[in-house]
């Protein structure tokens, strides 16, 4: 093994890989889809697949942080999660789960038919997958609008627990909407004004977590006079009329911080929904290319990769469904 060469044996590469039109020899002539820097279709396929798996790893971590946030919130407020989960529609969620699983099946079949060059079946399966995606989003849309209608949303616009000390503070703030200050970090000099009441009621770990911010540098200490913009940012997005509270407000069982359940619910399902929309876009592109006849036994990489992506979108939902809908 004294002659070790960097170039593989395909000798047709000695000249001009730079332009697509230069591929007049060897593998490149045989496979027009083969990019200039790959030697064989297998190498190109393997590279694309590894790249896709790495991308899926980033997706797992992308959602992973939200799952961690979910775990942290749920371990801190288990009562909130078991209570608020009742407001989710298990039937709709279950139907949606089935829709997504079926669409994953049709996607897998699409890959199968692409590999075998069955164009009609491929296009049909892609359309079915697209239908699943649309169906999922339609059901999700009804779920969301129903909850928004019932005012089951995140943040201060969520209903206020009137019987808890924190609720009283929030209720008073909500009542006089543009009122002085909802300080997320209470000024150390005035503990009674805002949420510090509730902080004092919590375990000491919370209070210590706040400390560094309280004793921030001079230039940062502008808490006593938040400007109009800050007050506006803290204002409820969709405030409930104080005189007509919804039924949920009257519930004596209502635990404080229930809004956090809906915050993480909308964050996670919303991000998942965005992924479904992206999936619809790429499946649409696949439908276009498949109808044009781009795919066959030699070349089905895009179908395969989109399939992988669609499965992970499905998989994320498989975790979301029990974690939100089935915990009571």
């Amino acid at each position: 093994m004294t002659q070790i060469t960097a170039e593989p044996q395909t000798s047709g590469h000695a000249s001009g890989h730079g332009h697509a039109d230069d591929h007049h020899s060897g593998e490149h002539a045989k496979y027009p889809f083969l990019a200039h820097h790959f030697e064989t279709p297998a190498q190109q396929f393997d590279s694309a697949k590894l790249g896709m798996w790495l991308f899926l790893a980033t997706e797992v971590l992308f959602f992973g942080a939200l799952f961690v946030a979910y775990a942290v919130l749920r371990s801190r407020f288990p009562e909130v999660f078991s209570y608020a989960s009742h407001y989710l529609d298990t039937v709709m969620g279950g139907v949606n789960t089935c829709v997504l699983i079926v669409s994953s099946l049709t996607m897998a079949l699409a890959v199968y038919f692409a590999q075998r060059g069955k164009k009609f079946a491929l296009v049909l399966c892609l359309w079915l997958t697209m239908g699943g995606a649309v169906g999922f989003l339609v059901i999700k849309y009804f779920e969301y609008t129903h909850k928004i209608h019932e005012n089951l949303v995140w943040g201060p616009s969520f209903y206020v627990p009137p019987h808890s000390p924190e609720g009283e503070v929030e209720a008073s703030v909500l009542a006089k909407a543009p009122a002085p200050a909802v300080n997320p970090v209470p000024a150390p000099t005035d503990p009674s004004a805002t949420g510090l009441v509730s902080l004092a009621a919590r375990p000491p770990a919370d209070a210590s977590a706040i400390k560094p911010a309280q004793s921030g540098p001079k230039g940062l200490g502008v808490w006593s006079a938040p400007t109009a913009a800050a007050a506006a940012a803290m204002e409820p997005q969709d405030p409930i009329p104080a005189e007509a509270p919804s039924d949920h407000l009257a519930d004596p069982e209502l635990p404080p911080n229930t809004h956090l359940f809906f915050a993480i619910y909308y964050a996670m399902t919303g991000l998942h929904g965005i992924h479904v929309v992206v999936g619809m876009i790429v499946i649409g592109m696949l439908i276009f290319r498949a109808t044009r006849g781009d795919f066959g036994p030699n070349y089905y990489t895009p179908v395969d990769l989109v399939g992988l992506y669609w499965h992970i979108v499905d998989l994320v939902w498989i975790f979301l469904f029990p974690l939100f809908y089935l915990i009571h």
């Binding site: 093994m1 004294t2 002659q3 070790i4 060469t5 960097a6 170039e7 730079g18 200039h36 820097h37 790959f38 393997d46 590279s47 590894l50 790249g51 790495l54 991308f55 790893a57 980033t58 971590l61 992308f62 959602f63 992973g64 942080a65 946030a69 942290v72 919130l73 801190r76 407020f77 995140w154 943040g155 201060p156 909802v182 300080n183 997320p184 970090v185 805002t194 949420g195 902080l199 210590s208 977590a209 706040i210 911010a213 921030g216 540098p217 001079k218 230039g219 940062l220 502008v222 938040p226 400007t227 913009a229 940012a233 803290m234 404080p256 911080n257 809004h259 915050a263 964050a267 991000l271």
Partner: protein, 574 residues
């Protein structure tokens, strides 16, 4: 562009062909739409250096403000914006993309013997993403700036009234994806585009370092991305997940942030270590000592990087058990780092050291990284950290690592590959002068900050006690000296571009594949099949005074390959 004039058989086969990647096609569009990794690397380098200039100006401004206690040139609020911008620009726009995206893009495929990275379009796309991210960061200035610190700690970042917070968060989110796609591209390239003969253990150590970095980029950055998303949503819609007054948890934000941002400091330092492995071996003309140890220590650092983030929260109310565990794991990062440092030193020992500018930078790195690394041990120690937390000691520590090590290595690497990238040599004396001025200025600036911090001067403060002033004055003078040093280096590079002597293919005597193609490389990297051997076996190189470069002695090369083949066979039998 210039080409090499004298024929040097066996190294470059097409010396008379003027076509290279710079002249292959012309016009603005041929650059901005290029799929050539070399051009993308050069564009990254230009963009990163421009950002470095901007970040540096902010650094000088804030050092000037700190000359005297109280107001010197700007108000406290403006000062807050200065240090925030300095940090955010230097971290997200400069250091993180500097080595992987700029130098790595240029060097990685050539070193590997590949024609390009695995996904050239994705590569270009990630550069565009970088531009978009930089655009948002600039726009945040127009939108009112931001004063959150580069860490965007909640709840301040969700309530501050400066208007540029959401634009900069968006910008950093986009920059994160730029970094992810670069890393993804590099991992696939190293796995799938290694030509026959290029085994894992024939890869130059810079490739090992870039590979390790890419793993961190791909696995850590998504967490930052989702964290910034949550922060944007928190600020826009007030969802309260990080807001303590709504039952949320600001420390959760810190965990998320450091789960990315601690690995991110290894995104900065690991490729820098890879550069140093190249610089020291090539410019000491001696086989790298402990190749496999250096290679695996890069991987080890990448692994450790994910399990030490908690040491940023020793005083954030983390439990004592967690603190102890994180402290212990943080200590253990010292092991792979020291493995590298000792191996570099051993490579220098009895080497034939050429005191070129790259070697000067490598020596500066060794010195500065040792200080930066060992002061990290101070900070990983629980009880000293409680004293030193959020003081200038921390500032000095991470500047020794991020700037004194990562950026110094980047500039050293830029000198090293400059002849390859541009086809021009630079003025060695001027470059060395620049290096020495930077080195002196750096130590003046930041060593004093160790003293400041250990005496209790908190970081990020606008005002300070009069007894600290002498240190602040020395530090500020040092920063000016450093500025002069960087100007000198810039002059050196501009001079080289205007009137530098044509570069030979192998000006330093390197053996990795990039030194076997012309300077600058042709569009598709290799016209002639390069031979892949041990990248650190310099025995067959000899100085050619007419080209001022190194040639391969065919007889000695054949002997070296024969020896290597025999060793391989012996290893196979054993």
């Amino acid at each position: 562009m210039s080409t090499v004039t004298a024929p040097r058989p066996h190294v470059v086969d097409h010396v008379d062909v003027p076509d290279n990647y710079l002249t292959h096609s012309r016009g603005f569009l041929s650059w901005i739409l290029t799929l050539d990794h070399k051009r993308i690397g050069v564009m990254y380098m230009g963009a990163v250096l421009a950002s470095f200039f901007v970040g540096g100006v902010f650094a000088l401004l804030l050092r000037t403000e700190l000359l005297t206690p109280g107001r010197t040139i700007v108000s406290a609020d403006t000062y807050n914006q200065f240090f925030t911008l300095h940090g955010a620009i230097m971290v997200f726009l400069v250091i993180i993309p500097s080595i992987p995206a700029a130098l790595g893009n240029f060097v990685l495929p050539i070193m590997l013997g590949a024609k390009d990275v695995a996904f050239p379009r994705l590569n270009l796309f990630s550069f565009w993403l970088w531009l978009a991210g930089a655009g948002f960061t600039l726009y945040s200035l127009a939108a009112g700036g931001f004063d959150t610190g580069w860490t965007f700690y909640t709840p301040y970042s969700t309530t501050t009234t400066t208007g540029g917070v959401i634009p900069v968060l968006t910008g950093v989110f986009i920059l994160g994806f730029s970094s992810i796609f670069t890393g993804l591209n590099f991992i696939v390239t190293v796995h799938k585009l290694r030509p026959p003969g290029m085994t894992w253990f024939r890869m130059p150590l810079f490739l090992w370092a870039l590979y390790s970095t890419a793993i961190i980029q791909v696995l850590a950055t998504p967490v930052l991305a989702i964290t910034l998303c949550l922060l944007i949503v928190e600020r826009l819609l007030n969802i309260g997940i990080f807001n303590p007054s709504m039952g949320g948890d600001p420390v959760l934000y810190q965990h998320f942030f450091w789960f990315y941002s601690h690995p991110a400091v290894y995104i900065m330092i690991v490729p820098a270590m890879g550069i140093i492995s190249e610089l020291i071996a090539v410019h000491a003309h001696r086989t790298i000592f402990g190749y496999r140890f250096i290679a695996f220590s890069s991987i080890a650092i990448a692994m450790f990087s994910f399990i030490v983030w908690g040491h940023h929260m020793f005083v954030s109310g983390q439990s004592g058990l967690m603190n102890t565990i994180f402290s212990l794991i943080s200590f253990s990062v010292a092991i792979p780092s020291a493995v590298k440092t000792f191996n570099w030193t051993m490579t220098l020992y009895k080497g034939t050291i050429s005191l070129t500018a790259p070697m000067m930078y490598a020596l500066a790195f060794l010195f500065l990284f040792t200080i930066g690394g060992l002061t990290g041990i101070h900070l990983a120690t629980l009880n000293t950290d409680v004293h030193l937390h959020d003081t200038y000691f921390v500032v000095a520590h991470f500047h020794y690592v991020m700037m004194g090590s990562a950026l110094i290595a980047m500039i050293g690497g830029l000198h090293h590959w400059w002849p390859k990238m541009t086809g021009k040599m630079y003025d060695e004396k001027l470059a060395i002068a620049g290096c020495i001025i930077i080195f002196v200025g750096f130590n003046l600036t930041f060593f004093t900050q160790f003293m400041l911090g250990s005496q209790g001067m908190p970081r990020r403060y606008y005002d300070y006690q009069p007894e600290f002033q002498i240190y602040h004055v020395i530090s500020t003078i040092g920063s000016y000296v450093m500025g002069i040093g960087f100007l000198t280096t810039a002059v050196c590079f501009v001079q080289s571009l205007r009137s530098g002597a044509p570069a030979p293919a192998n000006p330093w005597g390197g053996r990795s594949l990039e030194w076997q193609c012309a300077s600058p490389p042709p569009h598709d990297n290799f016209k002639n099949t390069p031979r892949v051997g041990n990248p650190y076996d310099f025995s067959m190189l000899q100085w050619n005074p007419t080209t001022k470069g190194y040639d391969v002695d065919p007889v000695r090369e054949a002997a070296a390959f024969a020896v290597e083949a025999r060793n391989e066979q012996a290893r196979g039998h054993a």
